[in-house]
């Protein structure tokens, strides 16, 4: 005969009555909680350690990058020019002094070329090339008295921003064509040839001027 539902219940209840040791249960549960906290602490510690190591590595790399950027270093170092060209041609400053156009400790020159007041090209001249250009500009004879310049204006303006270890120096502005009058506001020179060399990006006695990043436009043979 098949058992009934009540017999099934009775069968399932048979043998019931053994009690649990509460202290043992609580002790095991406490141990589990302790283990879980320890594991969480270990995971948290590992995450913090990884972040700390990553931070240190990033800091070292940033420090190295800063050193490369700011360190004028030895004679072969070529510091990165961090100045940018104005959007429109700066006003030609007037100065009749006999002082130098460029500071002696120039490390780079930002060359900004403007066609009809609008920025058309820019280049960075760095290291020995920059110092050579600065010396050539400073070595030009100062204008004495009234001098008649041919009216051969090309409407090309070149702004030269000298960069020294202490920062940018006063901008030197020159007009290509005519006498090539160039001034930094305190002194002026007639530097038509040097301006033309810088404007076309090549010189017979110097290495070609490297183009600044982001400017790939090539110039023709020079002002017409």
């Amino acid at each position: 005969m098949s058992p009934s539902e009540s017999e099934l219940r009775a069968s399932l209840r048979a043998g019931e009555g053994e009690r649990l040791d509460v202290d043992t249960v609580v002790a095991h549960a406490r141990a589990a909680r302790r283990d879980r906290r320890r594991n969480l602490a270990a995971i948290g510690g590992a995450v913090v350690a990884v972040l700390a190591v990553g931070g240190v590595i990033t800091g070292i790399q940033l420090s190295r990058d800063d050193h490369k950027t700011t360190g004028a270093g030895g004679p072969s170092s070529t510091p990165r020019v961090s100045v940018s060209c104005p959007g429109s041609a700066p006003v030609m400053p007037h100065g009749n002094g006999t002082g130098p156009l460029f500071p002696d400790d120039v490390t780079s020159i930002k060359v900004c070329v403007y066609h009809v007041q609008r920025l058309s090209d820019s280049k960075d001249v760095t290291g020995p090339t920059a110092r050579s250009y600065a010396q050539q500009f400073n070595g030009l004879p100062t204008r004495r008295g009234a001098q008649v310049c041919p009216q051969f204006l090309t409407q090309i303006t070149v702004a030269l921003i000298p960069v020294t270890p202490s920062g940018p120096a006063p901008t030197v502005v020159g007009q290509v064509g005519g006498c090539g009058t160039t001034s930094n506001g305190t002194a002026s020179r007639d530097a038509g040839q040097l301006l033309a060399q810088l404007e076309i990006g090549a010189s017979s006695g110097h290495a070609p001027i490297p183009a600044a990043p982001g400017h790939t436009k090539n110039h023709g043979p020079g002002p017409s």
Partner: protein, 157 residues
């Protein structure tokens, strides 16, 4: 733990029932104790957040048992030959319907056994059984019917 006294009282009040339910589920006293310990430890860690501690513990009990019964490549494996054979003691041989029911209960699948234990030992409704096992009520009904057929139990309607 903030309210360990309340947890102790809960274990005092329900530990016996839970342990017996675990025995019915596993058919093994040692595994039953481990199962209850696991369930109560999970409850201990959630104490104060579990809204219905007994229902939560039952749910953990059956789900842990069903999970552990699934065959895993790293888990226990059945063998053709039993490592230990019981002695032929007449006192240990099942002779009445009660022992026969227990034996048949051990032949049910883990889910069928869980349904039978929750419905006929813990006296849960079909709805509560479905909630504890996280299965539809219809599945509880069909599983119950199948299990009772295998247990050869006459269900009184």
């Amino acid at each position: 733990m903030r309210d360990e006294t309340a947890f102790r009282e809960f274990v005092e009040a329900n530990g016996t029932t839970l342990l017996h339910a675990a025995r019915l589920l596993t058919g093994d006293p040692q595994r039953a104790e481990d199962l209850v310990q696991t369930a109560l430890t999970k409850l201990y860690l959630r104490w104060g957040r579990a809204r219905e501690p007994l229902a939560y513990t039952r749910r953990v009990l059956v789900s842990t048992h069903i999970d552990s019964s699934r065959r895993r490549w790293w888990g226990e494996r059945s063998t053709d030959v039993l490592p230990e054979q019981p002695a032929d003691d007449p006192a240990l041989v099942a002779s009445d319907d009660r022992d026969e029911l227990r034996r048949l209960l051990g032949e049910l699948s883990p889910q069928e056994r869980a349904v039978v234990v929750l419905r006929y030992y813990c006296d849960l409704t079909e709805k509560d059984t479905a909630a504890a096992l996280r299965i539809p009520v219809g599945t509880v009904k069909s599983t119950t019917a199948r299990a009772l057929t295998r247990l050869r139990v006459e269900v009184l309607r």
